[in-house]
Each structure stands twice: as C-alpha cells, then as structure tokens.
C-alpha cells in the first residue's frame, strides 16, 4: 500500500511540475502543452473522434500478433531446449533477426503482405516472436532435472512429463515473460500503424502530428501508456492468482 501511495504521489509531482512549466510561458505550447490541455484534447477525442474505436483496433492488432507469437514461440522454444540439435540450428538465426529493428523490415513486409492488416500484424509479431522464443527456451532449460526424473520414476511418459511437470515448473517465469513481451509488442505499434493505416492509436498520433496538434499527440501517447499500465497490472494479478505457492 505504501508503495502504491509513493507511486501515485511521484506521478502527481511530475504532472504538477509539467503543468507549472507549461504555464510559465517559457516553452511554446506547440512543444509542451499543459497536462490540462492534453486532458481536454483527450476528452474531445473520446467524445467526437471515436478514440475508443481506434483503441479497440490497436488492442486487437496487438493481441492477435501477440497470441500468434506466443502460440509459436512456446512450442518452438520448448523444442529448442529439449533437443540440442534444434537449438543449435535455430538459435543463430533467431539471434540475427532479433537484433534487426522492426522499422528496417517495414519495406520488406509491404512487399510481402501489401498495406493491409497483415503487414501491421506481421510487424507487431516480428517485434515479439523472436524475443519470446529465446526467453521460453531459457525457461525450459531452467526446469530442474530432478523434477523431470522424479516424474519419470513414478511412471510418467514424455507427454505427461511435459504437461504435469515442465510446464507447471516453468509457469511463473513463462507468464512473466509473456507479460514483458506483450509490453514490447505495444512499443512497435506506432511503426505498424503509420504504414498506410486509417485506424488505430498509431494512426491517430501520426495524423495529429502532421497538423502539429501536440495535445492530441500527447493524448495518444498517454493512452498507450495507460493501456500498458492496466494490462501489466491485470497480468500481475493473474500471476498471483495462478501461482499462490510463490
């Protein structure tokens, strides 16, 4: 509770300092609008410019990409750790791609997928999958050998060792890593939504920028931040619920 209070007070202080700086007149409002103006812009966007719909579109894109990434990364990561040869084959390639910045692959993904939804989801997926697969492989590697052997000596077959022991054992770190990579998925959003988009928070921010509507740009950024904060807290709550023994 104390930590929560400290967090809220610290954030309030930053906002107050921002408001003060903006009102002092030392900084032009098109560079730094005051929080109250950002809030007004946010209200206008909510009531007149369909912001909720844009948020929904962005959230859907992020989650489709993220779930696709997780659905592939979890089994592949596990196989990479279980069979040394698979790990040896895949790891250098994954490391190579992992270090490529997502924007660098925008032209290529347009050539491959055109300018529709596929490109946006692909770019988001790209920013997530290659990070996640290595994290999953690592989680799997850290499952204690004794756990696996205990299960085998009481008659578990390979599938049962996987579902009843390995996945259970890696559960807490796996959920943590999913939470972290979901955050990374959101960070690629603007990149994905400036490519011929007509919807989404990225599109809203990018359009507002073109007309130097700084309060709206900031409002868009704040919305992403808020979504991130809420999602993160929900996943932490889920983590505590699922893993009561920790």
């Amino acid at each position: 509770m104390v930590e929560l209070a400290v967090g809220v007070i610290a954030a309030a202080l930053v906002v107050a300092a921002w408001e003060g700086a903006a009102r002092s007149g030392m900084i032009a409002p098109q560079f730094l609008p005051s929080p109250s103006r950002v809030l007004t812009a946010l209200w206008t966007m909510l009531t007149q410019q369909n912001l909720i719909w844009h948020v929904a579109v962005s959230t859907a894109r992020v989650w489709v990409a993220f779930l696709l990434a997780a659905a592939l990364a979890i089994p592949i990561g596990i196989v990479m750790s279980s069979y040394r040869i698979v790990g040896a084959a895949l790891e250098p390639m994954i490391d190579f791609i992992r270090y490529l910045p997502v924007p660098a692959l925008v032209p290529l993904s347009i050539i491959w997928f055109g300018v529709g939804e596929e490109t946006k989801v692909f770019l988001l997926w790209l920013g997530t999958f290659f990070q996640l697969v290595l994290l999953v492989a690592d989680d799997m590697r850290r499952v204690p050998q004794e756990f696996v052997e205990v299960a085998r000596t009481v008659g578990a077959n390979s599938r049962q060792v996987m579902t009843d022991v390995a996945l259970r054992s890696m559960g807490p770190t796996l959920i943590d890593n999913l939470r972290i990579t979901l955050g990374w998925c959101w960070t690629s959003l603007i990149i994905a939504e400036i490519v011929a988009a007509d919807s989404g928070i990225g599109y809203v921010i990018w359009t507002a920028r073109r007309f130097v509507k700084t309060p709206e740009v900031m409002a868009g950024v704040v919305v992403i931040g808020l979504i991130g904060l809420v999602t993160d807290q929900l996943l932490r709550l889920l983590h505590r619920r699922l893993f009561r023994y920790l």
Binding site: P144, E146, F147, E149, V150, A151, R152, T153, V154, G155, A156, N157, Q160, D164, V165, R168, S169, G171, F243, R244, Y245, L246
Partner: protein, 256 residues
C-alpha cells in the same frame, strides 16, 4: 536366495571419463545397502543406473532377473535436493506418486496418501505448499512419494545431507523402521561413515573414480537388524565405524 538387484559386469563412462569400472554385485531383497565412498566417485551413477535414469556403457543391471531399461515406479528416487514440486501441496506431492497408476481406485489413492502423511507425521501439514513448512519436513515429502507410488526399491542419494543433526537422526531412525516394516529394498548413497554404519545391513565401499568395490561389510551380522539410537554408543558400533574409516583412508585412495 539369489540377488534381487544384480549388477552384471556393469561399467559406465561419460565420454572419455570412466566413472564406474566393470562391477558385479548382487543386493538382497528387503535389505538396506549403503554405497559408501569418496565424493564424486561414481556411486550416484551406479544408483542412477538402477533407477534406469542412466544406461550402463557395458554390462547390465537386473531387477528380479529382468533387465532395467528405463525408469518405472518400481524403483523410486529420492534426490539430494528432495524435489518436492513447489506448485503442489504436501498432500498432492505425495499423491503424485500414484498419479499414473490405473490399477488402483481414487479412494485407494486417497487412503494411501493419508497413510503416508500420518506415517511421516505430516498429517497437520497436508494442506500447505512445501515451501511453507519448516525445514525438517521436505525430506519426508520426497521420501513418502515413492513409497506411495508403490516402489519396492528406493534409491536415495544423500537424502539427509543438508539437515541439522537432530532432524537427521530422527529421519534415520524412521527410515530404518519403515524399511523393515514395509519390506523395502533400499540403496542409500552417502559419504558419512556414522550414517552408513547406523543404517546399513551391508556397506559396499567404493574406491575413488572410476568406482570399484574395495570392501563389502556385513553390518547386519554385527549389529543386528534393529537400530535403536542407543546402538551408536555401543562398543560394537565404535569398532565397526573405526574399521570402515580405516578402510576409507587406506583402501579407497581418498584424500581425507
């Protein structure tokens, strides 16, 4: 009576490292055999091969005349690290031993779980997760699981190594009683001579790596099957312990 667990010209190397040199050894059913030897001498590897977790490089291991090829629930392992699953309650940890058995009913499983909870004084600790109960408790959880699974051979790798002296003593006494009452065959790996002499029907002493048998001591013939704590203070116990210590110093090549 022919041996229940039979090492038949068993040898094991990991790559270029020879861990166990060709060994033949028979262990009787319903006895507690201690594998004693210097740290890292290969006694754990011998035990793991009985468990089916490692395969011999040459030779084989027979259990009741049948070759061991893979782990199964007839041979339960108790590891040094105790290996309770942290995500299962104490009760479910013990019941995990029967999870893959279709030959007994759920009611029987519950009954057996309750039996072992009581046997190990864990009845009041059934509900909590293993990390929530005091330090003396985890080994019984790991010990109760293979018993509940119905293993008749228990393979124990220094299970009491990290415990305080009193808890350790208590568990040694309990283990010995359970072994006799439930008629289990136990291979117990340790490098603690006191513990070895107190628990064993028979001590097999191994040399430094690669492991070879350097002495085979019939402890039961000298101390009898029952091991009350007081036996540790008897002249016979002292003499036997000193003899084993002497053997370790002079025969195993261990640096003591």
């Amino acid at each position: 009576m022919s041996a229940y667990v039979q090492f038949a010209d068993t040898a094991k190397s990991f790559g270029p490292i020879e861990v166990v040199r060709k060994t033949s050894l028979g262990l009787d059913r319903n006895s507690l055999v201690v594998f004693l030897g210097p740290s890292g001498c290969g006694k754990t590897t011998l035990m793991r091969m009985v468990g089916g977790l490692d395969q011999p490089s040459t030779g084989s291991i027979l259990l009741g005349g049948e070759k061991v090829v893979r782990p199964d629930r007839r041979r339960g392992m108790v590891f040094q690290s105790y290996s309770s699953f942290p995500w299962l309650t104490v009760e479910r940890n013990i019941a995990f031993g029967m999870r893959y058995r279709n030959d007994i009913t759920a009611a029987e499983k519950a009954e057996r779980t309750r039996h072992y909870l009581e046997l190990f004084g864990l009845a009041d600790f059934a509900g909590p997760f293993p990390n929530r109960i005091s330090a003396g408790r985890p080994p019984p959880v790991a010990l109760a699981r293979p018993l509940a699974a119905g293993s008749d051979v228990l393979l124990m790798d220094e299970p009491f190594g990290a415990l305080d002296a009193l808890t350790r003593e208590r568990l040694q006494v309990e283990l010995r009683q359970i072994q006799i009452r439930e008629e289990k065959t136990i291979i117990f790996v340790t490098h603690d001579v006191e513990e070895a002499v107190f628990l064993a029907d028979r001590i097999v002493l191994f040399s430094r790596r690669p492991a070879t048998v350097v002495a085979d001591i019939d402890v039961a013939a000298e101390l009898g099957p029952q091991r009350p704590l007081e036996i540790r203070e008897t002249q016979k116990f002292f003499e036997l312990r000193n003899r084993v210590l002497h053997l370790i110093r002079h025969e195993t090549g261990a640096v003591v």
